[in-house]
């Protein structure tokens, strides 16, 4: 269940129906998908997409929630991800021996947590004895509530019914839930999925919070790359929540409570904010009424207001240096517009020409010819695409070479993009590969389900998955040079690298503060 730091492009990879004749004869163009795909917007605002693909008696689904960790309220970073974990904990019917009694017990847990936190957070006059008592009361309340829990029953039902690849991801922009299943369990799936969307119960919240904090230690605190990425984006952004740790700052994620998680659910898990797609051995005419019945249980309500903070224009070049015992890594980023920008495909073209394969400019220059790096790439958008993100370069130096050499070599390649047009061959290669990648991607039903839901949510129409091709085709050499000059400027840049330094003093504690919850 994870936070996904998205890399490259939605759009690269997407385009294309007609493979210059080749694909036109095939069953994989837009027209053929229009025949296979049925969409329906329910009265509660939720959009259903069914794509018929009867190759094998299975289906894959994807539920796309247009809310992620950018929507975490101030002081509650990591909330969207925390709620995602909660969505595996069952409902008022699943995972409980007696929901009526459990509900009362859970309310007591919240009250006990609030009392404990209030004492814990007192700036002055905290009473250690009282704190101990309140903590005990909090633990006792959890023990009481736990009596009614049937642990992991939701996933047990899914697994016993053949769920494959069951998982979820929380990104900064969105949250996605997905798995595949034998087709004869479609209705059972509809029951499970609609139940957890509409009827989440915040049971075992505080234990799960400990699990999420372990996840943070694993991905970020104890991972040299994780530490660098977190510091890098935190430096590149001054206002927009893209700069915030999406798994949550330790002091914040450790104090999120179940009440806050359920408020997040109430606000963002409404029909208008959700797209559910199903791809597989499913007949839309038969399935749609059944799906409608189940997914109508999701509450309606207005689409939540968008997060409105706009990152101010960067005017100062910024640098982050981490000194630690690990091998050096270099990265730098430049602010770019969001995915709706007319130049979106131009960024994809730049990324492709710089980074895709052994013909790419960065590989040939830094890896093959200068022999200073093991890997060097430039990708975008990062860390998200819904709001203006970054075009990010990174490189890992060969032994004996330095981050500074990476920076200088990358800047030379950028300067080439700014001062001269790319070749006709490079541009044509980008367009060919973008089309082929789109087509190749269609083979995987889970991937297609994810894409259909995402495009429907992001563009209001899944067809955009195919229509992106038009934008790819329109990219010119002049566009690439123009965009490179606009974006790749020193004052729009944040650089970050690690320098190897043997530990001298006792290791710095990376763990932060209050664990707030039960152990």
């Amino acid at each position: 269940m994870q936070s996904r730091l998205r890399t490259a492009t939605l759009a690269l990879g997407l385009a294309a129906m007609a493979f210059a004749g080749a694909a036109a004869a095939h069953a994989q163009d837009l027209k053929s998908f229009e025949q296979k795909i049925t969409t329906k917007v329910l009265p509660n605002g939720l959009t259903l997409i069914v794509c018929e693909r009867p190759d094998a008696p299975v289906f894959s689904y994807s539920t796309f929630i247009d809310a992620g960790d950018v929507n975490d309220p101030s002081g509650e970073s990591g909330l969207a991800h925390m709620f995602e974990h909660l969505a595996f904990k069952g409902t008022s019917q699943i995972g409980t021996t007696d929901y009526a009694a459990e509900k009362v017990a859970l309310a007591k847990v919240e009250a006990a947590n609030a009392a404990y936190e209030a004492e814990y957070l007192k700036p002055v006059g905290r009473d250690p004895q009282k704190l101990g008592e309140l903590k005990k009361a909090f633990l006792d309340a959890q023990t009481e509530a736990h009596k009614y829990v049937i642990p992991n029953q939701f996933t047990e039902i899914a697994d016993r019914n053949g769920a494959e690849g069951l998982n979820a991801e929380t990104g900064l922009d969105q949250t996605q839930y997905f798995w595949s299943m034998p087709e004869n369990r479609l209705e059972l799936w509809a029951y499970l999925e609609s139940s957890r969307l509409a009827d989440t119960v915040p049971r075992e919240f505080y234990k799960e919070r400990d699990v999420v904090i372990e996840e943070r230690r694993m991905r970020t605190d104890s991972n040299p790359e994780g530490r660098l990425f977190e510091q890098f984006v935190a430096t590149a952004y001054v206002a927009h929540p893209y700069g915030r740790s999406n798994i949550g700052w330790p002091s914040e994620v450790s104090q999120i409570n179940a009440t806050e998680a359920m408020e997040f659910h109430k606000k963002y898990y409404v029909g208008a904010n959700i797209v559910v797609s199903v791809v597989g051995d499913v007949k839309a005419s038969e399935a749609m009424p059944m799906l409608e019945k189940y997914f109508s249980r999701v509450p309606g309500g207005p689409k939540p207001e968008e997060m409105t903070t706009v990152e101010p224009k960067q005017f100062a070049e910024k640098t982050v240096v981490i000194r630690d015992p690990n091998q050096p890594i270099y990265m730098e980023g430049y602010h770019r517009p969001d995915y709706r920008d007319p130049d979106n495909a131009v960024y994809d073209a730049i990324s492709d020409i710089l980074s895709n394969g052994r013909v790419s400019r960065l590989y040939r220059s830094l890896v093959r010819d200068q022999q200073i790096a093991a890997v060097a790439e430039g990708v975008s958008p990062y860390p998200g695409e819904k709001y203006p993100g970054l075009f990010v370069f990174f490189a890992a130096p060969l032994p004996g070479h330095t981050p500074q050499e990476m920076r200088d070599a990358i800047h030379k390649e950028i300067e080439k993009l700014r001062s001269a047009e790319v070749t006709d061959e490079e541009l044509a290669m980008y367009k060919t590969r973008a089309r082929a990648d789109l087509l190749r991607g269609l083979a995987d039903s889970q991937g297609l389900a994810n894409d259909l839901a995402e495009y429907q949510a992001r563009y209001g129409d899944w067809r955009e998955l195919f229509l992106q091709l038009d934008k790819v085709d329109k990219v010119t050499k002049a566009d690439i040079r123009r965009v490179a000059n606009q974006v790749f400027t020193a004052s729009n840049r944040t650089e970050a690298w690690t320098e190897t330094e043997a530990p001298t003093a006792p290791a710095q504690k990376t763990e932060a503060g209050n664990d707030g919850g039960a152990q």
Binding site: L5, P151, D159, R160, P182, L188, R358
Partner: protein, 499 residues
């Protein structure tokens, strides 16, 4: 073919930090308590599954012993193929450890006499086509894919590369640099250290399955070594697999023309590996830039030929398969001690895999989490398996079984794998029938036979000063530090392990 690997944080996955939770499958809830009134989901009808017979590839065995599989798939206008070649890093000389890895890179980047690797790159990428080579533990491979219209040309190029590579000094040096980067970075990631060093504890530091490339051993590899490796392995039993949008008659004719003229294949010599299993005890590697311990608990597993494999697969589900497994329920859900916890007895196709469990927990709870994980492993022999656990594990494995063959590519890959390791083509059916028959008595017998808690090694990679209580609290004898210093060429190799 790839052997198991838990995490592989390579630099080129850099920004792709998508991560899944540990695994898939099973469960163990305190079902005894569930006086659950109503289970509405049980009233939802599960209809009969639509008829489905996975399309098997056509198998063609040439007179010289080479085997070809053709798997037609006309959904998309692509054709892809591969040639699998026996012999891999477990067969290389210890003094040249890393040879096969270098070979796997330099083969493709060097190219052929007709077309060097750089020109191949230009030609293929312009067509959104690929030809790649790789070197693994027990095999090497050439693979390719392209749009249908380019398939003939790409196949010719791949065949030329297979039969007539021209290894280049420059590209060998490039591969050596890449490999050296991996070596000097191998102690940066805690999980990678735990995975690598725990497998060494199982197989021994000098085993063909664990010996690791060092700066000195990769530096010793020459162009002649690459050519000699190629000359030796290409005479083995090649397995050729083609899938996609092609005409089967024309394709078969083309492949016969390409491969029939090769010499009779030579059988692989029998292996004489020994698998001693770990020396029990607690091992420790200090890493002070982390706040979490990565704990690996390991022993000896079994070979897939073992008739107990279906039973052990069910036992694995019960121990560490997924959300409902004993490990997940106890260590993650109940104790909240870990995000990542998993475990089981693994089986490789032609040698025993390790028994292993992994738990990743904050430094101060290292001992508690390790004890809890060890207790679940030991519990396989002491805590009775319940009918509920058995039913759940079987449901998990069997209901999702069709995802092993729900696409034509998966069917092809499975057939190639079975052919490579000499298993019957109906292995999956036999295996599935075996799963269906597993009983509680079978589980109890298998647990006794394969789970020996007293023979396990516990490896902790973590921040020593933060681990309180200390590892001596595990009461498993003295804590033995492992030295993972990376040997520098010109100096004597560091011992893999210090007492």
């Amino acid at each position: 073919m790839k052997s198991l690997s838990r995490r592989n944080p390579l630099l080129n996955s850099f920004l792709r930090i998508s991560i899944s939770l540990a695994a898939t499958a099973i469960l163990l809830a305190p079902a005894a308590l569930s006086a659950q009134q109503d289970k509405p989901w049980e009233r939802i009808p599960v209809t009969k599954l639509h008829d489905f017979k996975p399309q098997q590839p056509k198998r063609i065995e040439l007179k010289n012993g080479i085997v070809i599989f053709l798997q037609e798939d006309h959904d998309l206008p692509f054709v892809s193929g591969s040639v699998l070649i026996p012999g891999g890093s477990r067969d290389e000389s210890p003094a040249k450890a890393g040879l096969v890895g270098l070979y796997g890179q330099a083969w493709r980047t060097s190219g052929t006499a007709k077309m060097d690797g750089d020109s191949l790159d230009d030609l293929l990428e312009a067509k959104a086509a690929h030809i790649e080579t790789e070197g693994d533990e027990d095999s090497t491979a050439v693979s390719w894919d392209s749009l249908k219209g380019d398939a003939d040309q790409v196949f010719s190029l791949a065949l030329d590369l297979l039969l007539h590579p021209k290894f280049s000094r420059e590209k060998l040096e490039l591969a050596q640099q890449q490999e050296a980067t991996g070596i000097v970075r191998r102690n940066d990631d805690e999980g990678a250290i735990a995975e690598r060093e725990s497998v060494k504890l199982v197989y021994g530091v000098n085993s063909p399955y664990t010996r690791q490339p060092e700066l000195a051993t990769i530096g010793a590899v020459t162009l002649d070594d690459l050519q000699a490796w190629h000359d030796r392995t290409i005479g083995g039993k090649l397995i050729v697999g083609i899938s996609g949008d092609f005409d089967p008659v024309a394709m078969e004719a083309k492949l016969r023309a390409a491969f029939e003229g090769l010499p009779q294949v030579k059988p692989e010599p029998p292996r004489h590996d020994i698998f001693p299993g770990p020396t029990p005890g607690v091992y420790f590697i200090n890493k002070e830039d982390v706040n979490q311990s990565d704990v690996a608990i390991v022993g000896m597993g079994i070979d897939r030929h073992n008739p107990d494999v279906p039973t052990v697969a069910v036992m694995n589900e019960i121990l560490g398969g997924g959300f409902s497994s004993r490990l997940f329920q106890k260590v993650r859900t109940e104790l909240g001690l870990a995000y990542e916890v998993e475990g089981g007895v693994t089986f490789a196709y032609d040698h025993p895999g390790p028994l292993s469990a992994v738990v990743v927990t904050k430094s101060p709870s290292t001992v508690e989490a390790t004890k809890a994980t060890l207790a679940e492993i030991a519990g396989l022999t002491t805590k009775p398996f319940t009918e509920e656990e058995l039913a759940r594990a079987k449901d998990n494995l069997l209901t999702s079984f069709l995802f092993r063959y729900d696409t034509k590519d998966k069917v092809l890959a499975e057939r190639e794998r079975l052919e490579f390791y000499g298993y019957p083509a109906d292995y999956l059916e036999t295996y599935k029938a075996g799963l269906e028959k597993v009983t509680i008595a079978d589980l109890e017998a298998a647990a006794k036979k394969y789970v020996h808690a007293e023979k396990l090694a516990v490896l902790v990679v973590g921040n020593g000063p933060e681990i309180k209580p200390g590892l001596d609290e595990l009461k498993l004898g003295p804590v033995r530090p492992i030295d993972i210093t990376i040997p520098q060429p010109g100096r004597p190799a560091a011992p893999g392990e210090k007492p």
